[in-house]
C-alpha cells in the first residue's frame, strides 16, 4: 500500500506533498509535518555519511519500521523523493526513479512556466503522478 509522497528541492523546500492514504492523522500543520520529515532526512543523511566506511558512495535507499517503510531517492541535482509505503512493498527505488524521469522531468523541468523551487501544483503533473502511482501493484497490495 502506498501512503504518501514528499518531494524536496536541494534547499529543503517541499515542492510537493501528496497523500493517498495516511495511516495516522498528523498533529499540527502540514508545514510542520514537511519540515519534520526534512529534518529527519537531513539528520539521517549525516548519520549515514558518518557510518559509511571509507570514502565510498554513501546514500540510503530506505528505512522501515514494523508499520511502514520510507523509500528514498536523491538526485545529483539535490531533489529528494520520499515515498512512504507499508513495510511489505519491496524495493520502490525504480518506482521513484520513474516518478523522477517520467513525471517530474516531463511536467516540471521541461515546463517553461514552472519556476524551480515553487510548489508543484500543475494539474498535468498531479494527474500523471496519480495515474502512475495508482497503477502500481504495490498500491493495492496489503489493503486489507
Amino acid at each position: 500500500m502506498i501512503y504518501n509522497l514528499y518531494i524536496y528541492n536541494k534547499h529543503g523546500v517541499c515542492l510537493l506533498y501528496h497523500e493517498w492514504k495516511r495511516p495516522n492523522i498528523t498533529a499540527g500543520s502540514a508545514m510542520a509535518d514537511q519540515k519534520l520529515m526534512f529534518g529527519f532526512l537531513f539528520s539521517l543523511k549525516q548519520v549515514v555519511n558518518k557510518l559509511t566506511p571509507d570514502s565510498g558512495m554513501p546514500g540510503f535507499h530506505a528505512c522501515s519500521t514494523n508499520k511502514f517503510k520510507l523509500n528514498y531517492y536523491e538526485t545529483a541535482t539535490g531533489l529528494r523523493f520520499v515515498l512512504n509505503t507499508d513495510p511489505n512493498c519491496g524495493d520502490m527505488r525504480e518506482c521513484i526513479r520513474y516518478i523522477y524521469s517520467a513525471v517530474f522531468v516531463e511536467y516540471a523541468s521541461k515546463n517553461a512556466l514552472y519556476t524551480a523551487g515553487e510548489p508543484l501544483d500543475n494539474e498535468q503533473f498531479l494527474f500523471a503522478l496519480d495515474k502512475y502511482v495508482r497503477s502500481l501493484p504495490a498500491f493495492t497490495s496489503g489493503a486489507a
Binding site: T77, G78, S109
Partner: protein
C-alpha cells in the same frame, strides 16, 4: 570499476536513440532567428552575447534533470570525468554530435589549482548556414552552449566558468568552449525558524 563501465560513447548513442528528434534545419533556423531578434532588440553585440549565455543558463538548470533521468551516466568521481560525460554523452544526447574533451593543465599551476577542460565541437549544428556580417563579427553566436554547461553543472554542485574560445564563425576551424571549475558548492539549507 571504471574500466568495466560501458564507454561513454556508447552511453551517448543509447541516450541519443531514446530522445525525441527534431529536424536539424528547423532547429538551426529557430536558433538563428532568436539570435537575430536579440541583436535587433538590444542593438549591441556584447549584450546579445551575454543574453545568449543567460538563456543557455536557464536551459541548463532544467536540462540537467532530463539528462540525469534519461542518460544513466552514473556518478562522476572527478571533474575530468565530468568533462568526458558532457562531451560524449550530453552533447550526443541533446545535439546529436560527439564532442572532444581536452583536459588542460596550466604549465606552472600550483598542485591545488582548479581543474579545467576544453570542449571541442567540430560539427556544430548551431552554425549551419550562418555567416556573421561585419558589424557583429565579435558576436559569440554559440554562447548559449556555454550557458547550458554552466547552468547544468551549477545544479550538480559545481560552479564553473565557461567561455567561448574559438568559433567557426570567427574563422577558426572548430568551436571551442573552456570550462573551468571555480568552486564545489555544498548543500545549504534554509531554515525559516531562524
Amino acid at each position: 570499476m571504471a574500466a568495466q563501465r560501458p564507454p561513454y560513447q556508447r552511453l551517448g548513442d543509447v541516450a541519443f536513440s531514446k530522445v525525441e528528434k527534431v529536424n536539424a534545419e528547423l532547429f538551426t533556423l529557430t536558433y538563428g532567428a532568436v539570435v537575430v531578434q536579440l541583436l535587433k532588440d538590444s542593438e549591441d553585440v556584447e549584450q546579445t552575447s551575454i543574453q545568449l549565455e543567460k538563456m543557455g543558463y536557464n536551459i541548463g538548470v532544467r536540462i540537467i534533470d532530463e539528462f540525469l533521468a534519461k542518460a544513466n551516466a552514473g556518478t562522476c568521481t572527478d571533474f575530468k570525468e565530468t568533462g568526458e560525460v558532457i562531451a560524449k554523452v550530453a552533447f550526443r544526447m541533446f545535439l546529436g554530435v560527439t564532442v572532444d574533451c581536452r583536459h588542460v593543465v596550466e604549465p606552472n599551476a600550483p598542485a591545488d589549482a582548479m581543474p579545467a577542460f576544453h570542449l571541442i565541437i567540430v560539427d556544430n549544428p548551431l552554425v549551419d548556414f550562418v555567416e556573421l556580417p561585419e558589424h557583429c563579427s565579435t558576436l559569440a553566436y554559440c554562447n548559449l552552449l556555454c550557458g547550458v554547461v554552466r547552468g547544468a553543472l551549477e545544479m550538480v554542485g559545481m560552479r564553473v566558468e565557461t567561455k567561448l574560445l574559438k568559433d567557426t564563425l570567427w574563422g577558426d576551424e572548430h568551436t571551442e568552449i573552456s570550462v573551468s571549475l571555480k568552486e564545489l558548492v555544498h548543500e545549504q539549507y534554509r531554515d525559516d525558524d531562524e
